[in-house]
Amino acid sequence: MAYQLYRNTTLGNSLQESLDELIQGSLNTYRFCDNVWTFVLNDVEFREVTELIKVDKVKIVACDGKNTGSNTTE
């Protein structure tokens, strides 16, 4: 039943899920313009097998890739 309730919100091709992520997770802001996604996350852990890096703020800029995707963090 819950899914039907979201039908009104999808009338504009929009979903509340990204907002849920905002509330629960560490996603601070998001932006999508000119096919470029920009995310700002807070309190992020980058985990590799050997290493763990914790960071207060991460900005992710992501472009669409067809073998030419680029992904930068600062």
Binding site: M1, G12, S14, Q16, L22, Y30, C33
Partner: protein, 376 residues
């Protein structure tokens, strides 16, 4: 009941007539003048985004402090009483305007007074006219009694026929003698708490539209506002979201905007105002014209299983039930014009309403029918 007139704002009646429920944080009952002023300012600041209105007609108006206002205050004491420093810092630089939480600062103080007082007066005059026409009807007064005796959360939900703008709690109107019963009586005989064992449909989604009345540069909005998406190849509007009230807005280059996801009429209006303020802060001369609720969705549970086959047989001119297509029965009620999705489990979804009362009325109508088709 009215306090002394307040020359600054010409809103004399408001100060003494704040609703006792929910109780303000500091006192129960009448607030001190300072507290009233603070609440007043908070509410008025919220409405600071421009409403385009007719010139003020009468000095009288009814107190219009929205119920949701207090909830917001209770949950965000910091933001409610302090202006938002972050917004002030970036006010000259639109590169990262974060308006996702409740900023109660006044954006254009000069515009506040005439805009807000005329807004109140317009709402009040539309209200004062409609109760007069409704008084002769005894059924509505009975309903008023029924509503008064019901819980305040229910009475908050009733609407004036002439008032599509906002819902006000019933205790707000004690001053008028002729309206000794709650003037918030709806046109049709119905009470949320009634033969239905107190089952009240809960609103799940409100869709509303508003006209910002200026052409918008969507790319600029998408680049400078937080939490915005703009993919013109897929959809010709900016999709923006705010956290409080949790809503999504579709903003079009014509200046028109759709606001979805709110759980109450006031929240929908508040959210729309916040989006308008975001647009305004990005440099566009946004106004707030023709706010209208287009659709309301509610849901509830009758708590017993239903024989949908039987229902579709006896109500075939209203029902459509194709279990292979969709597991719910689609009931198109004629009066009020509401579509109900009825499921075997007893859950009911009601949609298509322009007013809260239509949802309640539709459920009142369907409940006895559903009881007749209780399983086993």
């Amino acid at each position: 009941m009215a306090s002394a007139p307040r020359p600054e704002r010409d809103l004399g009646l408001l100060a003494g007539c704040l609703p006792p429920y929910p109780p303000p944080p500091t006192t129960v009952g009448l607030l001190s003048m300072e507290q009233q002023e603070t609440y007043l300012e908070l509410y008025l600041d919220q409405c600071a985004a421009q409403d385009d209105l007719a010139p003020p007609r009468s000095p009288l108006f009814n107190p219009v402090v929205p119920y949701d206002m207090y909830i917001l205050n209770a949950s965000n004491p910091d933001t409610a009483f302090n202006s938002n420093p972050e917004v002030k810092e970036t006010s000259g630089d639109f590169s990262s305007v974060d308006l996702s939480f409740l900023p109660d600062e006044v954006t254009q103080e000069n515009k506040d007074q005439p805009v807000i007082s005329s807004r109140h007066e317009t709402e009040e005059s539309s209200e004062s006219q409609s109760p007069q026409s409704r008084l002769p009807s005894p059924s509505e007064q009975d309903i008023g009694l029924g509503l008064n005796s019901s819980s305040l959360s229910n009475s908050h939900s009733q609407l004036h026929p002439g008032d599509t703008d906002s819902v006000r709690p019933s205790p707000e109107k004690p001053n008028s003698d002729s309206l000794s019963l709650a003037p918030i009586t709806p046109m049709t005989p119905m009470t949320p708490v009634s033969e239905c064992c107190g089952i009240v449909p809960q609103l799940q989604n409100i869709v509303s539209t508003v006209n910002l009345a200026c052409k918008l540069d969507l790319k600029k909005i998408a680049l400078h506002a937080k939490n915005a998406e703009y993919n013109p190849k897929r959809f010709a509007a900016v999709i923006m979201r705010i956290r409080e009230p949790r809503t999504t807005a579709l903003i079009f280059s014509s200046g028109k905007m759709v606001c979805t996801g709110a759980k109450s009429e006031e929240q929908s209006r508040l959210a729309a105002r916040k989006y308008a303020r975001v647009v305004q802060k990005l440099g566009f001369p946004a106004r707030f014209l023709d706010f209208k609720i287009q659709n309301m969705v509610g849901s509830c549970d009758v708590r017993f299983p239903i024989r949908l086959e039987g229902l579709v047989l006896t109500h075939q001119q209203f029902s459509s039930y194709e279990p292979e297509l969709f597991p719910g029965l689609i009931y198109r009620m004629v009066k009020p014009r509401i579509v109900l999705l009825i499921f075997v489990s007893g859950k009911v979804v009601l949609t298509g309403a322009k007013e809260r009362s239509e949802i309640y009325e539709a459920f009142e109508n369907i409940y006895p029918i559903l009881k007749g088709f209780k399983k086993a």
